[in-house]
C-alpha cells in the first residue's frame, strides 16, 4: 500500500452521487439498503470503465465481438450487473455479463469483478488472469489484502476507486488519463 499515492487533486475526490438512488446518510440501521445502493453504483461503474480502457487488439475476435464482464462471487451483484448492462453497447460492442464460480485464463473475460467465491478466493482469481488482458476489479477495505487493477473503496460513505496502473500495464491494458484523474489514488507505472 505504501506505493499507493493518495491523490487529492480535484478530480480525485470521487464522490459517489447518492442522489441517483437516494441519500447515503450513513444510517447504520439501513445496512441492507446500503448494500443494494452500492451494488447498483458499482454495476454502473463497472461497465462505465470500459470506454476508458484500451484492450489489445487480440482481446477481441471481431470489431463487433461483445465486451464480457465476468463476476466471481459478490452475492447478488451479478444480477444487479446483468440488469444494468442489459442492451448496452460500447463502441458497437454489446456488453454481456457472466457470473462464474471461478475464473480461468481462458474464460474470455474482459472485465473481472471478483469478491471471492467458495471455489476461488480473490487472490486466486486475480492470479488466474495475471498477464491476461483483463481489467480486474476488486472491492476491499483500505489496508486489506489482494486488490485488482481497479479497487473500489468506500470513503465518506461514497464509492470511490483506486487504480493500479502498473498492474494494468502488466495485463496489457491502457487506461485513459481521464479515468485516472477520477481515481482516489493511482499507483503509477514503474
Amino acid at each position: 500500500m505504501g506505493r499507493l499515492a493518495h491523490r487529492r487533486s480535484g478530480k480525485a475526490a470521487v464522490i459517489l452521487l447518492g442522489s441517483l438512488f437516494g441519500l447515503l446518510c450513513g444510517a447504520p440501521a439501513a445496512r441492507a439498503q446500503d448494500t443494494a445502493v452500492e451494488y447498483a453504483v458499482k454495476a454502473t461503474y463497472l461497465y462505465k470503465f470500459v470506454p476508458f480502457v484500451q484492450w489489445p487488439a487480440a482481446a477481441f475476435a471481431a470489431p463487433d465481438s461483445p465486451v464480457i464482464l465476468c463476476v466471481v462471487g459478490g452475492g447478488g451483484f451479478s444480477e444487479v450487473l446483468a440488469r444494468a448492462v442489459s442492451g448496452e453497447t460500447i463502441e458497437g460492442r454489446p456488453v454481456l455479463s457472466r457470473s462464474l464460480p471461478a475464473v480461468a485464463a481462458d474464460s474470455g473475460c474482459h472485465v473481472l469483478y471478483t469478491a471471492g467465491s467458495a471455489t476461488q478466493s480473490v487472490a486466486q482469481g486475480l492470479a488466474a488472469v495475471q498477464g491476461r488482458p483483463v481489467l480486474t476489479v476488486t472491492e476491499s477495505l483500505p489496508a486489506a489484502g489482494a486488490k485488482g487493477i481497479v479497487n473500489f473503496v468506500l470513503a465518506d460513505n461514497r464509492v470511490r476507486f483506486e487504480i493500479d496502473n502498473q498492474a494494468a500495464a502488466e495485463n496489457g491494458l491502457l487506461i485513459s488519463s481521464k479515468l485516472l484523474s477520477l481515481a482516489v489514488a493511482v499507483k503509477p507505472r514503474s
Binding site: 475526490a13 470521487v14 460500447i90 481521464k178 484523474s181
Partner: protein
C-alpha cells in the same frame, strides 16, 4: 493648360473613394475574421473541456466536473460554461455576473452569435459513446469597442482620403493661380512695354529740349552779332546809294552785296535754329491753310523743278488755325525740299489738308501732345523713304542724310520746333523704298475770323519825325538801331537800361514811342513798358528780341496787343513796323 490639372480633382476624388472603399472592405474582412477567430477559440476551449470532463460526466462526478468547468474562468471571455448530461439536463456550470443565466435544459441553449456573446455547443464523447454536451458562452467585444479598434484604421483611411482630396483641390487651386499669374504677367509685360515706349518718347523730348537750349543760346548770341553786321552793311549800301562813296567803285558795291547775302543766309540759319529751339518769336495770325498752300504753288514749283509734279488735296470746310504764316511757309518749303531730295529721279509730291481729331488715348501715348481738334497738313513723297533709325533722328538739328554741303540738317528741325511751338504735333510715316509722309497737326483756331489781317499789304514804309526812346543794353546793337532810326528821320533818345529809360521818359514828354529790347539787365523790357504805360498811357511800345524765352512771349505766342520785331531786323521791315505801331491808337 494640359488636360491633367483639369481632371486632377476628379482623379483625387476617385482615389479618395477607392481608399474609403478599401478601408471599409478591410474593416468588414477584419470583422469577419474576428468572428471566425472568436468562434474557433470558443470551440477549441469547449472541445478541450469536453475531453477533460468526459469521465467526470460519465461517472456523474459533479464535484470534479465543476472543478473542470471552473478552470475555464481563467479565460476572461468565458461568460458562462455548462455541462449537460447525455439526457440534456444541466449537470454543472457557472454564469458570470451580468451574463444570462444558464438554462436547465439543453433544448434552450442554442449555438448562436449576437452583438454581445458567442455560444457554442460541443458533444462529450468517449470511444464513440455520447456522454453529454459542453455549452460555452464567450463574450465578444461589443461592436463599439471593435469600431474603436478599427478607428485607427478608419482614421488612417480617412486621412489618406483627405490627403487625396486636399491634393486634388490644391491642384485645382494651383492651376487657377497659375492661370491668373500668367494673366498678371502678360498684363505686366504690356505695361512694361508701354512704359518703355513712354520713356523713349520722354527721352526723345528731353534730348530735343537740351539741344534746343543749346542751339537757342548760340543762335541768340549770333543774332545780335548778325544784327550789327547786317545793319552796318545796309548802312554802307545806303551811303553808296546816297553818293557818299564813289559810285564808280562797282567792286565795292558787289562786295557789300555779297557780305549782306552771306549775313542774311546766316540770319536764316539762326532763325531756323531758334525755330527748332522754339524760341523764335512767332507772330501767329488766323490762317486759312488751303489759301496759304495755294499761294505757295508758284514757289513750290520753282523749288521742286520740272521733274516733280505737285498734287494738292485740299479738304473743304477746313478749320482755321492760328500760326505764324512765314514760319508755316518755311516749314512746308523745308518739307518740299526734303521730298525733292528723296526723289532724285522725279516723282510726285502730295500736299493734303484735312480736319483731324487727336483723342485722349493717342495723346496719352505720345509725349507732349494734347487731345483736341487740329488741322492736318500732310506732305507726302514717293521717294526713298527712311529707316527707323533715321526716322528717330530726323528732327535732330544738324542731322542730315544728304551729302556734305547740300543740307544744313536744320530743315526738319525747323518744322519740328515751329509745330511744337505752335502747340501742334508732327509725325513722320516712312517706309524705306516706299516714300515718306510728314503730317503736321496745328491746333484749330476757335475764334471767328477777322478780316483785318488780310488787307495788310507791305507798303514801302516811309520814315517819320516822332521822337523815339531806344532802350538796348548791347552798345553795338543800340548804335546800329539808332543809326537806322535817324536815317528814317526819327528823333532818337538812347537808354541802356530801364531805370535810365524811365528817367528820359520823364524828362522828354515828346517821346511818342518806346522801342525796347525785352532782355534787359534789372528791370526787363516788359516791366519797363508796363511802368511807362502807367505813366504815359498814350505811349506806343515796340519790343524787339532775338530770344523769345521771356516775359512777353508765352508758349511762343505774343500776348494780345503786344508789338514785336524780331532781331535781326532789316531796314524796310523796321520802317514798316514803326509806322504800323505809331499809327495805331494805343489801347
Amino acid at each position: 493648360m494640359p488636360k491633367l490639372p483639369r481632371i486632377a480633382p476628379l482623379i483625387a476624388l476617385l482615389a479618395a473613394i477607392a481608399v474609403l472603399v478599401a478601408g471599409l472592405v478591410m474593416i468588414a474582412y477584419e470583422e469577419r475574421a474576428y468572428a471566425v477567430q472568436k468562434t474557433d477559440e470558443a470551440t477549441v476551449q469547449a472541445r478541450i473541456l469536453a475531453s477533460t470532463v468526459a469521465a467526470a460526466v460519465f461517472f456523474g462526478d459533479r464535484e470534479a466536473a465543476q472543478e473542470y468547468v471552473e478552470a475555464t474562468r481563467a479565460n476572461p471571455e468565458a461568460q458562462a460554461v455548462a455541462i449537460y448530461d447525455a439526457q440534456g439536463r444541466l449537470f454543472v456550470g457557472y454564469s458570470r455576473d451580468g451574463a444570462e443565466p444558464l438554462s436547465v435544459s439543453l433544448d434552450t441553449a442554442r449555438p448562436t452569435r449576437d452583438a454581445g456573446a458567442l455560444r457554442v455547443l460541443t458533444q462529450i464523447t468517449q470511444a464513440d459513446t455520447f456522454l453529454g454536451t459542453v455549452y460555452l458562452q464567450a463574450g465578444i467585444e461589443p461592436i463599439s469597442r471593435r469600431l474603436q479598434r478599427y478607428g485607427a484604421v478608419g482614421m488612417l483611411v480617412g486621412m489618406a482620403a483627405l490627403v487625396f482630396l486636399v491634393l486634388g483641390l490644391t491642384q485645382r487651386t494651383l492651376a487657377r493661380q497659375a492661370a491668373s499669374l500668367a494673366a498678371a504677367n502678360e498684363e505686366l509685360r504690356k505695361q512694361i512695354l508701354q512704359r518703355e515706349q513712354v520713356e523713349a518718347a520722354l527721352r526723345q523730348a528731353q534730348k530735343m529740349e537740351a539741344i534746343g537750349q543749346l542751339t537757342g543760346g548760340v543762335a541768340h548770341d549770333f543774332n545780335n552779332i548778325l544784327h550789327v553786321i547786317i545793319g552796318n552793311v545796309e548802312s554802307m549800301q545806303r551811303r553808296i546809294a546816297g553818293n557818299d562813296i564813289r559810285r564808280s567803285d562797282a567792286a565795292f558795291v558787289r562786295l557789300t552785296e555779297a557780305a549782306l547775302r552771306a549775313a542774311e543766309r546766316a540770319a536764316t540759319l539762326t532763325s531756323q535754329l531758334l525755330a527748332f529751339s522754339r524760341r523764335q518769336p512767332l507772330a501767329p495770325k488766323a490762317l486759312e491753310v488751303n489759301r496759304l498752300v495755294a499761294g505757295m504753288s508758284d514757289l513750290l514749283r520753282r523749288t521742286l523743278g520740272e521733274t516733280i509734279g505737285i498734287e494738292t488735296v485740299l479738304a473743304g470746310g477746313l478749320w482755321r488755325i492760328s500760326a505764324d504764316p512765314n514760319q508755316l511757309e518755311s516749314a512746308l518749303l523745308n518739307l518740299a525740299v526734303n521730298a525733292r531730295d528723296a526723289m532724285p529721279g522725279g516723282g510726285k509730291l502730295t500736299i493734303e489738308t484735312a480736319n483731324a481729331h487727336i483723342d485722349e488715348t493717342y495723346a496719352r501715348s505720345e509725349q507732349d501732345v494734347s487731345a483736341g481738334q487740329y488741322v492736318m497738313i500732310a506732305v507726302t513723297d514717293a521717294g526713298t523713304g527712311m529707316s527707323k533709325d533715321v526716322m528717330a533722328q530726323a528732327f535732330d538739328p544738324f542731322f542730315t542724310t544728304k551729302e556734305v554741303g547740300r543740307g544744313t540738317g536744320l530743315g526738319l528741325s525747323q518744322v519740328y520746333g515751329f509745330v511744337k511751338q505752335s502747340g501742334g504735333h508732327v509725325r513722320i510715316y516712312s517706309e524705306p523704298g516706299e516714300g515718306t509722309s510728314v503730317k503736321l497737326y496745328l491746333p484749330r483756331l476757335a475764334s471767328e475770323p477777322t478780316s483785318e489781317e488780310e488787307a495788310r499789304a507791305a507798303q514801302p514804309a516811309p520814315g517819320g519825325e516822332e521822337l523815339i526812346l531806344v532802350v538796348e543794353d548791347s552798345e553795338d546793337v543800340r548804335a546800329n538801331t539808332v543809326s537806322m532810326l535817324r536815317e528814317l528821320g526819327y528823333g532818337v533818345i538812347e537808354a541802356a537800361d530801364g531805370t535810365e529809360a524811365l528817367r528820359q521818359l520823364q524828362a522828354q514828354p515828346r517821346i511818342r514811342l518806346l522801342f525796347t529790347d525785352v532782355g534787359l539787365p534789372g528791370m526787363n523790357g516788359r516791366e519797363l513798358a508796363d511802368e511807362a504805360r502807367r505813366r504815359r498811357p498814350e505811349l506806343s511800345v515796340l519790343f524787339t528780341t532775338g530770344y523769345a524765352r521771356n516775359a512777353i512771349v508765352h508758349n511762343g505766342k505774343l500776348d494780345p496787343g503786344v508789338e514785336l520785331i524780331a532781331k535781326p531786323f532789316s531796314f524796310p521791315v523796321l520802317a514798316a513796323k514803326l509806322r504800323e505801331v505809331l499809327e495805331r491808337v494805343p489801347s
